[in-house]
Symmetry: D2
Subunit: 497 residues, 4 copies
């Protein structure tokens, strides 16, 4: 309906073959620091460690005490480009700070408007308030329409702004109580960090779909999407914030509340498959080790005669190591990733394009030539990447190419804060495993089973179909929270129907 | 209380002697175009012609029809730097557009936050709405506190946002009716241009303190702060919008309404003295000719034996011409202004500073040496410039320096959209004419009388003290609208008290 | 032949009607400071005052003592944008500095390559050497071909680089002696400032075509193209450097030498007409006063019945004042110049263009309507501006428009450091005065005579045709130095032939 | 002596612990394309693939045919940031283009001046000439002094400029013959690509110290430092350019000449150890496979009881794989590299620093805790990184840390185009293996032997000490070309002495 083009960018054509385009994308990471001098410099480091959760934009809010109060800087682009100067950190003084990295789910697609970059800020009668959110509110459209009708003026297209307007209209006095009022109206997945001038609040939705951890660095408390962002500042991991828990951090310490109806947790299993960093520990499990174990399960379920196990870098690496270890077939770097990444590059001329430009990945020709190669990747979304990589490996002279996928077939979109193509664009939603094998042109194709995935995640007995231990809707269509806006728009027909 | 530092700039030290620092500053200009293809390119040109009314920032909103609706670009800096590329105009398609140049009165002082740059935009239940405002709302603080208490979330520190929130809560359906509801709660001076997807609205406050004119360019209608911005696009001047009038422009033409209680008009007399451009015509008077006539009045009231009449460029030029013509003393360019202006320059070393750097003005030494010189300037605010210029002219060898001011002594601050120093900083508020003469170190000093000024403005009988024909509060302390926020804060004691 | 596009700029379409495009352009200004701490900050100020002599680029070289030696910064754009930060001045420490502003004559036309921006720098066996040049070498092509043949490698397309290579091959040891060797091979016009680590050298060609003055600021010596750039730093004017003089400034003071065959001086008369700033004094004459006197001569030679004398701002202003004073017809600002200049602006749509956009100049409609107007301008080059302005004044309702030009008809190109159109583009080279009047569509057109111009320049008896006191080749075709490259290329047929 | 600060950057403090700082650095890569439309876009892609050979700056020269000839763009920073827009490629039209990425060896250290960025360009009497160079000229200082004495003016501090000035003074007519004249005066290591308007020349020094390969893409010929940069554009590998060979590419095809005295080749063995990309094939050997075999040799020479083999990413990875395969100890990603690299980051506060910030590397705590870990790295230079990583691994709870290095101890600086610390900064030059083990604080430390390295490079019988097959001066002090400038300066005492 509207767009506030503060910085109307010339859009560069992205390259036709970018292997990273064919992934599900986590769209946010959040990070908060309470009680450290120059809290914003901690936050900048933490966001850098969470950069894989959102590369389009980043923002930091800090409170410098009265009378100046809150300062907020929001920028498009990477943390290393936007938040690395002394100037920007000097513009964000104070002991309390929180930040956000963002891809883009709800909100204007395509060109991220700077106004949609979080943290959001609002001034209530009781004082200022900043908030950052990882997840997605599935009834945001309905809430927005209701609020506008009553005179609220929205400044962004972010679903998070609903929470702020609901809080503004609450008759409670404290920010924490106003937030509870607001969240009781909200459906969906969320891990939120918020702050007033004297308190920092962390909260996870009742199912705990998205991660949130608590850390400690000297006297300071830290909230972070993942534990790897505690390591970067040398902080100590304390514990996961529990599903449905609200922690309220003040100079008196950390207070824990459980404001919602208790539910059985349903943590997102795809965080283990791809989203989280391998050096994070979530829900007591090492992400790296879990991925390696998926490779082990895969080798057991789908062995193959071959000469080499090669990961599709970097996401397939831990599972490939596991597969190699379980199968005894040697592991090799058959595909090399250019470390000087860069998504935008000149559109190549027809001539170059036809020759097949390889900006990010190159096959290690001398390694794969004449070999029977097993490629291990984390997932197949549209299949465009897999097909292209297979061609590159064959062009380099491989004798056979077998594809092993460290997750079950992705057949359903996610509505809980992940950017997924529509169902009809998901390869596995439209083809059987055999059809996919033929479509991709590989000698064999196998996915790990849902039970195998659960076993790698530490559930020895596999998935409990009546009460699944994780959210695996992208594989099963079993949505733990009904995506009500989508259903209202007639844009989704659920599996059950 | 808070600041949203989207672009925290390193502030450069401005030069210690900038003659333009010692001026009252008009803080805004507005411009709207209805019914031209590429309306935004007209608006960019119009804002360039209104640049003297605000140099800190500019913004343009345009409506490109459904489904994309409104686009807005706001930038710090000059129009010629921000709105001159094909890219920015391409980002603002459509037949309706409005724009704003801004100095800064209400809102965060100093570093203009981009969020305070107008036009403001809001989405109401009935559709989008953009607004730009020249003037100042004197009860904005009280309105803001009331609105926040009721759950409105403010995004800027601009007083204009009060109007938007009042409109959002109106139960009227059309934007024009909502605006009337809102403006009836508002006290102060305003010339506003607003637009919906199909209408453009122009309105002046009941006293008509700030200017607003209507023009025509082919089939298109134009609203502008001044007529010089009609000339730049080759448009035709139609008429002034009347004090208290609301014009509603649609594809059906221009509708005129008078929604307020009728009042006797009180147009700002300082627009004639300094703010407006000399090639504008306001209220039927040529600004240039009015200034020349002030010089004529001044020559009659305050003659002096001299060799040369020299303007302080550029604002003193028309009055100096008039003074020369009436007195018969030759006119000469005794002071030269560097056309390559630039406010920011390196802080000179102690050595250079002591020698007296002259970035903007230079005395034409060969012209003034040995002469009795009459300097004509438009006004004296703090007196810092006058004193410095006098020294420069004496250093260059002038025999005598007489100062003639083309306005009465400035003794009161303005609350209607002009940036004025506090009363105690105004030289004329603290000294008699003789004291000022001694303080400035000139051989004689004279101001035009208030009656002389009124005569130059076409009121042959001079000021009617019981019902003054203009707003002249800065000279008289006679405020036509009580500045209620200031009084509530105890920060102003009125003349009458 | 080649271009080193360090910064290949997107060229913005300049506006179709820019009155400043129809001028001859001085192409350089030079400024040097010997013996001041932070000499570069003086130079930045001096170049700002000389900005009218070249707006495309600026450069500053400074020597900070051993071991670091010379630092040089060269930038495209205005001094106020490029040399105003503490950072850039900090990058240029030292007591000796020199600078240059440039338009572009010799060297790549159009997009100024940064490598053509002066000062040039070279390392000789005896040490480093920086040089900046105002003027033009007319045998540069021949010298360049000879030097390349002998193994010199040119880095720029600047004619000044010939001097540097000639110096590199000199067998003299001191920079001053090498420079004399080089300049004896050079033909043309030049005012040069050069420096070694311990000396600053200023030199004017034997005819003294371009200006160069010597000033004093405390203990420091200053060399500058014009005296107005001494005023800006509060320095004292000492004297003109004489035609054919070389001054060598060291810690021992100023040494004067005359290395060339003596000639009768031929200072460029167009410096008085247009190039120099009105507040400069050159050759003992005030530029402002000279221009005013041209107006007086013009009023005597070409009077007319009229109501108003209006300058074409800003260059016609002093002559218009003189004309008004001599004729007794009132002076008025009939045309207003927008002080927020900016050459680049969006290409207006067809619709706007047809209405006649007025970015820089606007007619003061209320002043000229119904009046017989005399427009006074400094010169006519192509005539495009004069024609356009005449139309604007008539559109605004003037009864008659008379044009008076404060210089003789411009009929020949300049080869001494001024950017002139080819002869066939010069209006006066192809038409008689009557034809020009008809072409421009004015009621009358008159130029000041060559003798009148000489009288205004203080030569009471007018021009001595056998030994003219000035270089007036652009009016007379009488070239004091034969432009040998041009003749060799067959691109010029001299008047005498 | 001098610096031409075109873009004087504020230098950001780099982070105190950057593992990439403790590496030898290859300083250049070169790439040329003959006979493809838009050759510059190929070159941009090729340079992106060679980015690991130089990250400070890049340049591209292209010839667009007469009359415009050569265009050159040189920029600081990464290829992906500087050469990815359509605009920059449009500024470089033509069928011939060559490019260069640069770290910095000879030339101004620290802030790379843009004038030192290659390709260099010169205009000879016979036409334009561009050149790019990987390597280092060891008698450049002597040559430069001689050339300046004879009147050559140097524009850069690059050693490559000596070649250009020697060519300018050659009496030969063709560029290839001039180049032979010049190279016969030059001592050192070089792989050069040069071009005239119609020819492209590639040449390797007689010992072939630096790599250079020839490829084919359709009708176009390509010269590249490494074969991985052929793959990126889909080009075919043809062959290595031979040591001492000059290839001259024209529309008639590729002509091969051997202008130098024949020598036994001495290719740089460190290209296999670290400099080249693992997916390149040089001298018939796969770089990846060679590194893996070094790991195998290392496992044989220096086995250890352990639980895990962990690479120091990314340079230690192939050797770690080989070590694991030979030893049977499982391979694991015990250290994770943040893919969002960024060398510059805010200087952390004292508090954060003390906690140990980990911008680039993080230990995978869950993987190494309680384990006996073998870390495999490619080399030890100063040892700062190894020490820091060992601490991180122990902090994460490892039981033992053993360090295995996939190259012999680095004890001598390189003078052939590699940035090496002075000898006394090289850890292995000052300590025995035991002392190093204690200094680094590891449980054991072992380097591969020189013979082991040669075996991995395919020399089954190991190094031939009388006629070594590679240049291994950094390990042996056996310099195949005497570094004459260094010896003249008394800054190097050779091993033999």
């Amino acid at each position: 309906m509207t767009g506030d083009a503060h910085t109307p960018d010339r859009r560069l054509p992205s390259h036709p073959f970018d292997p990273d385009d064919d992934k599900l994308r986590e769209e946010c990471g959040v990070y908060g620091v309470f009680g450290a001098p120059d809290a914003a410099s901690f936050v900048a480091l933490g966001l850098h460690a969470l950069q894989h959760r959102g590369q389009e934009a980043a923002g930091v809010a800090a409170h410098e005490g009265e009378p100046n109060g809150f300062n907020i800087v929001r920028r498009l682009g990477h943390v290393r480009d936007s938040f690395t100067t002394a100037e920007v950190i000097k513009a964000l003084p104070g002991r309390l700070a929180l930040g956000h990295v963002r891809y883009s789910t709800a909100g204007a697609k395509g060109a991220t408007a700077i106004r949609d970059v979080q943290p959001l800020y609002a001034e209530f009668a009781q004082g200022g308030f900043a908030i950052a959110h990882n997840g997605n509110i599935v009834n945001a459209d309905a809430l927005r329409a209701e609020l506008i009708e009553r005179g609220s003026i929205f400044q962004s297209s972010s679903d998070t702004e609903c929470i702020v307007h609901l809080m503004a209209r609450s008759i409670q006095r404290s920010a924490a109580e106003r937030m509870k009022d607001a969240l009781r109206r909200v459906e969906g997945a969320y891990s939120i960090i918020a702050m007033t001038r004297s308190k920092m609040i962390g909260v996870r939705d009742p199912l705990g779909v998205r991660p949130l951890v608590l850390g400690r660095a000297g006297d300071a408390w830290i909230l972070s999407s993942e534990s790897c962002a505690l390591d970067i500042v040398g902080a100590e991991f304390v514990r996961d914030v529990a599903p449905g828990e609200m922690v309220i951090i003040s100079d008196d310490g950390v207070e824990s509340q459980f404001p919602f109806q208790p539910s059985k947790p349903r943590f997102c299993v795809f965080e283990y498959v791809y989203f989280s960093r391998p050096d994070s520990v979530i829900g007591g499990l090492s992400v790296y080790e879990t991925r390696r174990r998926i490779g082990v399960e895969l080798a057991r379920e789908a062995p193959v005669e071959a000469d080499l196990i090669c990961p599709v870098p970097d996401s397939g690496t831990p599972a490939a190591i596991g597969y190699s270890q379980e199968s005894g077939v040697p592991y090799a770097m058959g595909i090399i990733r250019n470390q000087y990444v860069g998504r935008t590059f000149i559109e190549p001329s027809e001539q170059i394009r036809n020759m097949g430009v390889r900006l990010k990945l190159n096959v290690n020709r001398a390694v794969v030539a004449g070999k029977r190669v097993v490629l291990v990747d984390d997932s197949v979304v549209r299949g465009t990447t897999s097909r292209k990589i297979k061609e590159m490996v064959l062009d380099a002279g491989a004798a056979e190419v077998h594809l092993r996928i460290a997750s079950p077939p992705t057949t359903w979109p996610c509505f809980y804060g992940v950017d997924t193509p529509d169902k009809e664009k998901l390869l596995a939603a439209t083809m059987s495993e055999e059809e996919m094998r033929d479509h991709l042109g590989v000698d064999s194709l196998r996915f790990v089973s849902l039970d195998g995935l659960y076993r790698a995640c530490g559930v020895a007995e596999g998935r409990d179909d009546r009460a699944p231990q994780f959210c695996d809707a992208c594989f099963s269509g079993d949505y733990p929270v009904a995506p009500s806006d989508r259903i209202a728009q007639g844009r989704l027909k659920l599996a059950a129907e």
